[in-house]
């Protein structure tokens, strides 16, 4: 219970600050200033730090949260009420459930830093992630008007397509590791090099050399699919504000909209955490003995820090890419998913299997 609270609290905070980061980074990329107005009464008065935090927009998430709670929660007359109320919750929950199996650190004292150390970890993840589409489809259906409905349809097609590519892109990882448990995957990477680039930390051998392109390819496919799964640009067709107003959440206001928002960013965090765990060695670093389970509290905290740093790097890329690429057309999206990524992923499975069969460790 305590562990759940200790993960969920920071996660929600991180989500709020990811929104801030999104706004600030987008502003900097577009030669703007970004949020820099909110100042708290007492802290704003501290000489250097107060104005600096204000300039950074540090208090904006706080104010945003308060704002979305006290805004009018408007339910349009034409919506299907039950689903309309249910959809935000369904959109939000899977994102948090995925976090449960992610090992975000080695050990802290005697506690393993993972909420649920499931043996079927990754299967559970994929099962839950595919539930995420229901929230969006339901929101699109419940709103009972054309734009949200189109957004819902698009998202269901998109998510199912990319779920396939995503699922197949991680098969090579399991071929290499031989286990579905995420903690075991990290352990394997600590000994045999990161899955994305096995030469890094794995030592040089014919097999690790040959596994490099496999790892890179499978990471690339997973990465692209993760963008599609989290409805981020260039694949944000469910939302596509320029043609569908706001897509599936057009009719939502106040905290119900906020829940979709939190869900989207929590999904991003889940995606970033999955990439870190599956391909980038989770909480390990192949230097200074940081790849062994922690024997002191400080080292445990350091491991959590390493995991967070990797996750933040991915979040940064998520945000960076959003403000760079234009949106794909719908047929391009489907083309990329079905005709490029899925065959590539299948070929990659065969390639990896061949490498593993023909070379010895």
């Amino acid at each position: 219970m305590l562990k759940i609270a200790c993960v969920l609290g920071p996660l929600l905070t991180l989500v709020a600050y990811a929104v801030l980061a999104e706004r600030k980074v987008s502003a900097l990329i577009q030669d703007r200033v970004g949020p820099n107005r909110v100042s708290l009464p007492l802290i704003g008065g501290i000489p250097v730090i107060g104005p600096f935090l204000t300039k950074l927009g540090f208090w904006h998430p706080l104010v945003d949260g308060v704002k979305s709670f006290i805004k009018e929660d408007f339910t349009p007359a034409h919506v299907r009420k039950i689903y309309f109320w249910l959809a935000p919750a369904i959109a939000l929950v899977p994102a948090f459930l995925v976090i449960a199996v992610i090992p975000f650190g080695s050990t802290l004292g005697s506690q393993k830093m993972v909420i649920a150390d499931l043996n079927v970890g990754i299967l559970y993840t994929f099962g839950i992630v595919s539930l995420g589409v229901y929230g969006i489809v339901l929101a699109g259906y419940a709103a009972n008007s054309k734009f949200p409905f189109l957004g819902g349809i698009r998202s269901s097609a998109q998510m199912i397509s990319y779920e396939l590519a995503m699922g197949m892109s991680v098969v090579p990882v399991f071929l290499v590791v031989g286990d579905l448990n995420l903690s075991k995957i990290i352990e394997h990477q600590a000994h045999n090099g990161w899955n994305v680039f096995p030469l890094f930390g794995g030592g040089f051998s014919l097999q690790t050399l040959l596994l490099v392109p496999c790892g890179m390819l499978s990471f690339t496919i997973f990465f692209v699919a993760a963008f599609a799964e989290t409805n981020r640009l260039p694949f944000d067709l469910p939302e596509s504000e320029s043609e569908l107003v706001g897509g599936y959440h057009t009719e939502y206001s106040s905290m119900k909209f906020g829940m979709f928002f939190i869900g989207e960013y929590a999904n991003m965090f889940a995606g970033a955490a999955m990439m870190t765990t599956l391909f980038f060695g989770g909480w390990t670093l192949p230097f200074f003995g940081l790849d062994q389970a922690a024997d002191s509290v400080w080292k445990g905290l350091l491991h959590i820090g390493i995991f967070m740093a990797k996750m933040f790097a991915f979040m940064g890329i998520f945000i960076w890419v959003r403000w760079m690429l234009p949106r794909f057309r719908y047929d391009q999206l489907m083309d990329l998913g079905w005709r490029r990524l899925i065959p590539l992923a299948l070929a990659n499975i065969i390639l990896t299997a061949a490498v593993l069969a023909l070379t010895d460790r």
């Binding site: 980074v25 900097l28 990329i29 577009q30 030669d31 703007r32 200033v33 960076w320 890419v321 403000w323 760079m324 690429l325």
Partner: protein, 185 residues
Amino acid sequence: MIVKRNELTWFERLYLPALVGGLKVTARHFFNNITGKTKVTQQYPEEPTKVLPGYRGAPYLVRDQDGATKCVSCQLCEFICPPKAIRMTPPGAAGQPADRPNAEKMPKEFEINMLRCIFCGLCQEVCPEEAIFLKSDFSLTGLARGEMVYNKEKLLALGGTHGGVQKWKHKLEEAKEQETFPVKV
């Protein structure tokens, strides 16, 4: 005209060159902005803006270099004002004398309704005494309509000093000299 569209090479069709190009452009903007190389936004209330000379802001009354009201209450500005924003009360026959000796009179009250004013500058153009000027103020605020009617005192305080040829002073001096012209030895 037919625009020739080249077939994309297989490398370009990979979408990667465009991706890298985009990343480069956005990263460049990001770092230029963060290091302060590009600066586009002027953060207005904190960074006061500077208007150029010749800007037509709010019209204010000015004093001459001796601190005397320059306006002689001729009412030309009141008559020419297109939106009728200026309202002047002349001193009348038994009114207060002008600040300046030899000047005939000065207004008893002078009001400009800044809500009506269109900042056209005709009052400044028509003024024979160079007593009213469109200054550089552009953000006039008030909590009530009444506050936006500036009276003579306020207009003079805001207008400050504007020197120039002190016509009435010189005329007075000349007149005095005339009286003593045939210099008595």
